[in-house]
Assembly symmetry: C2
Homo-oligomer: 591 residues x 2
């Protein structure tokens, strides 16, 4: 912010954390050779501005590429405590999730931008005048191509990780789509395989506002007295609405709806939200170039890794990295469903992938906001090898389940909780382990254990998974909380060669007694201390019920293990387990 | 559309149904007197353009006022089969929901518009030149004031109904806020008590685009060679995105995303959605005036009936009409939560109100779309007196409940289904009857019976209702489907002086027998044919369970009626009803 007056508190936006003055610590490299572009055009030389943190190790295996979003730049983090804040300062630094004591972090400014790398405001070496409208159309692929030249220049053959949010996520995925062996890990935050038609529409309106600004002059405004600041400000205002959720806008701007801040502006100032938009729009014109905005939004709009799962599977077929995707519940510009589409394709390809939808009211901007970074940062940290060693609490039932899983089997654990079962399997050496969990705290804890967990609701079925993808599917102590049990059974035997289901038996003797003598609605045995009116359980199956369902669906019951945890003993199948066992473990498969 | 080429099908929008040529059948009246405005300004005369359908009856009790939305006009419906389609043609006409054979329908063009009523493009009688920027600031209240002058002119003292969607809904509510005895019925579709900050933001950006258009010339463009068409088109593009849901945009524009239609335009045409926006934006400039757009959006933005329930209760305190509110699930410009805020205030004031949230993927535009009109039209029709007489299927248990309801008591029926119980009470002469239902088909059927039904999920509690608002609250055959039973009990005794709860007893002898001998999860007795894995029930209470809960909450059990429907006999409280009754009816109250 420098000498500027800081904006009033309710005006703070993620944008205000960004450096608006000249950047320090920026290095740059000029590639003085012909660079062909995906559009068919070319650039006769390209400069790439970038910043780095930490030191590249001797075998160049600790380099992390950080890709910025549309209005970001190379200043992702501070270089020293007194440095200007970076836009991802909570994520990158000594001891942070992307630990600059361990990693050599590189953040380049994108091709087409206006913060050091070649863009439309630079001089065209062929004419000696700024490119302006003569700047060729660029794509995310072209941005990645320049970053790859930078990597070569730095002596990096393979990134430890490529990390990006929004347009940065597009770059990260494009790296892998083009160069499947380019990284060990690809981290994609609040991004998508392509824009929604709605997001496309907003970008188009923004570009229309710029291009019809009379000072735009067909893009040749650099030698004119005025720039298309009005159009650029309007485009930016529109962007700002899409970066926030309606909920958070209400919180920020409703209390003083009719009390606008004083902003020197040509724009309307009748409402608080109006002065915020005017402030953000005008501020943007002081640090961003309209032609760059057009070039970068168009690159985003043309970005398309695939409209459906098959196309996405083709895109990522050869990928050799792990993936981590994060979305935010209130992000309507890059909604969670778009991240799930990518996850579904990656899972179907058997790529190792973790996916978390972070519950946040802060919309698309969440990926830049400390309150939300703190939730997803530990997942990045774990995937970068800093794994929490948390002792696993394995119940007796789970011990039995573990015994039933053949050595080395691939396992999908549905409702995996904090991942303790998968963690035990991991220590046993199983390579392909995937958990599904919907509770955010559980999911994050499982992620911190270094497990691959997918954030899905079992009531939606298992759309991510393909037929017979796992040796074993486990549903442990989860059945009774699922509404759509019939579909889940169909899905489990579709996805797994064997299915291990453990569940509390609601026809256990003690429960029957309580029901018959006490006449009370049965409660789950064991650890569950709920009342009938507040239990998370919504099904109360007995062993006989599940047998019936298996018979109805012609499923094969390969093994039955019954357990009386109360008296700590096994119940044989001929000892009337439906009466005598409080817990059942069934191994099921398709006929 | 006239001589224009019809747009390709995927380009169809509700806007295309609107007449863009000169209107026929328009009458107009000029009030040549000083009209003071809410802003403090005034107009020295006002012309109001309007259309009418049907005939006013002798005592002027059959007049329906229809209020249009921002870009609408007086042509709400055809006047004869060969006439141009109106924007609400599916709702208004002979034999339709607003039946022009029965009602005298009046649709005026709003003050500030540009389709016949006085607006900024008209000549200022004081200067002989168009008002332009000199047009005084107007409010929704000013629009209503002119409509009231029209009503007087037509000899209408009280409207049978005032009906409007979006800005039309704002007018309808403002009528009642200003003149509480102005109508028998107020119908508000897809509207709100005030705009969200997000919606406000979009309007502001639209106005900024117009006002910074160099051809805007401070609003004095009528004698200039060019008008601020670019700005107006951009504002309209933005509007069009907010009128659609993201889902429906995907459906319309994704299949041919990269294949834009050919539109003669100065705007970008790279994507299908871009050519749609260009088409809609440009088309709008041929029929709408930029100053009117500014005046009407500003009136909408300034509209504010109250930010919270207390303010809204003050607004509607004296209202003497019935209310019908309709919202659409995918409308993010006027989200359902905003309709619920209004409903909560009206319900707390004991005003008769029906509220339905129609499930639709079509966003805000739903209120104009035939597929959605067909869902809400019957509710309007019923409130206008065309009530379906559907025979009530009253079960024996419900007969007992009816007996327990004192004559004339006010009754709230939670989970009222198709309203058969309330319908029976209505025939018995009860005046204050309200149903709550979440299933759309049930709700619409109850509405067609002429009942007042509120579309709410019982798991959210009863926030609409105030303490001790009803003599009797009924929860019949619904308890077992509610997750949050504890809160619901608290809420029921808060809202009702007496609560009648009927529920299937899951500890009934036959179920215990089945459980004990068969070892199967208990199923509900009687009419419910579900399996344990697919029942909508999620709680399985016994009579003893509910007794326990009442004891725990120190609720007074005023009456217990037990019933063995299987054997068609009453069970006395000392005959072990928890074993012998399959159904319980408990009358409960706060201590």
């Amino acid at each position: 912010m420098g000498a500027q007056e800081p904006p009033p508190e309710s005006f703070a936006s993620t944008d205000d954390a960004r450096v608006v003055g000249p950047l320090q610590h920026v290095q740059s490299i000029t590639f003085a050779r012909d660079i062909p572009l995906e559009s068919g055009g070319h650039l006769s030389e390209v400069t790439c501005a970038f910043e780095t943190w930490g030191r590249l190790n001797d075998d160049a295996t600790n380099a992390v590429l950080v890709c910025h979003a549309i209005s970001g730049d190379s200043h992702a983090a501070r270089h020293h405590p007194d440095d200007d804040l970076g836009w991802w300062d909570d994520l990158i630094g000594p001891g942070k999730a992307i630990d600059t004591d361990r990693f050599f972090v590189v953040c380049p400014n994108v091709l087409g931008g206006c913060r050091g790398s070649t863009g439309p405001s630079d001089l065209d070496p062929n004419t000696g005048r700024p490119f302006g409208a003569g700047f060729p159309r660029i794509t995310v692929g072209d941005m990645v191509n320049v970053q790859r030249m930078l990597a070569e220049h730095l002596g990096i053959r393979r990134w430890r990780a490529i990390v990006g949010g929004s347009l940065g996520g597009h770059q990260a995925m494009n790296w892998i789509a083009r160069y499947p062996d380019a990284a060990d890990l690809c981290v994609v935050i609040a991004s998508s395989a392509r824009l929604t038609s709605q997001a496309l529409g907003f970008d188009i309106i923004g570009r229309n506002a710029i291009q019809t600004d009379p000072h735009f002059n067909g893009g040749q405004y650099y030698d004119q007295p005025q720039r298309p600041d009005t159009g650029l400000a309007i485009a930016r205002m529109l962007g700002h609405i899409t970066y926030l959720s309606s909920e958070v806008m209400e919180e920020k701007f409703d209390p003083d709806r009719h009390d606008p801040r004083k902003v020197a502006t040509i724009f309307e100032q009748r409402f608080s939200i109006g002065s915020y938009l005017a402030h953000q729009g005008q501020k943007f014109t002081t640090r961003f170039d309209a032609n760059s905005y057009i070039a970068l939004t168009m690159a985003m709009d043309l970005y398309d890794l695939g409209a459906d799962r098959l196309q996405l599977m083709e895109t990522f077929n050869d990928a050799e990295c792990e993936f981590l995707l994060v979305s935010f519940s209130s992000d309507w510009l890059f909604p969670s469903s778009q991240s799930r589409d990518i996850v579904n394709a990656l899972v179907a390809l058997d790529k190792p992938v973790t996916y978390a939808e972070i519950t946040s009211p802060r919309g698309h901007d969440s990926f830049l906001i400390p309150e939300d970074i703190q939730h997803y940062a530990p997942l990045i940290q774990a995937r970068l090898g800093a794994i929490d060693t948390i002792a696993e609490q394995i119940s007796e039932v789970e011990q039995i389940i573990l015994q039933e899983i053949p050595p080395g089997a691939s396992v999908l654990d549905l409702g995996c909780g904090d991942g303790h079962l998968l963690s035990a399997l991991k220590r046993r050496g199983h390579a392909k382990l995937v958990g599904v969990e919907v509770d955010q705290n559980n999911l994050l804890q499982a992620g911190r254990r270094g497990l691959h967990i997918i954030d899905y609701d079992l009531n939606e079925g298992l759309p991510a998974f393909i037929d017979q993808q796992f040796d074993v599917v486990v549903l442990s102590a989860t059945l009774q909380a699922v509404a759509n049990i019939e579909m889940l059974f169909d899905e489990m035997v579709r996805v797994g060669r064997r299915v291990i289901v453990s569940f509390p038996n609601f026809a256990y003797r003690a429960l029957r007694d309580a029901f018959v003598t006490g006449g009370r609605s049965p409660k789950a045995p064991g650890e569950f201390g709920y009342e009938w009116y507040n239990t998370p359980n919504r099904r109360f199956p007995s062993i006989a019920d599940v047998h019936d369902l298996c018979r109805e669906k012609s499923l094969r019951l390969r093994k039955e293990i019954y357990f009386d945890a109360t008296h700590n003993r096994r119940i044989a199948p001929d000892e009337d387990p439906n009466l005598n066992a409080d817990t059942a473990i069934l191994v099921i498969s398709h006929t």
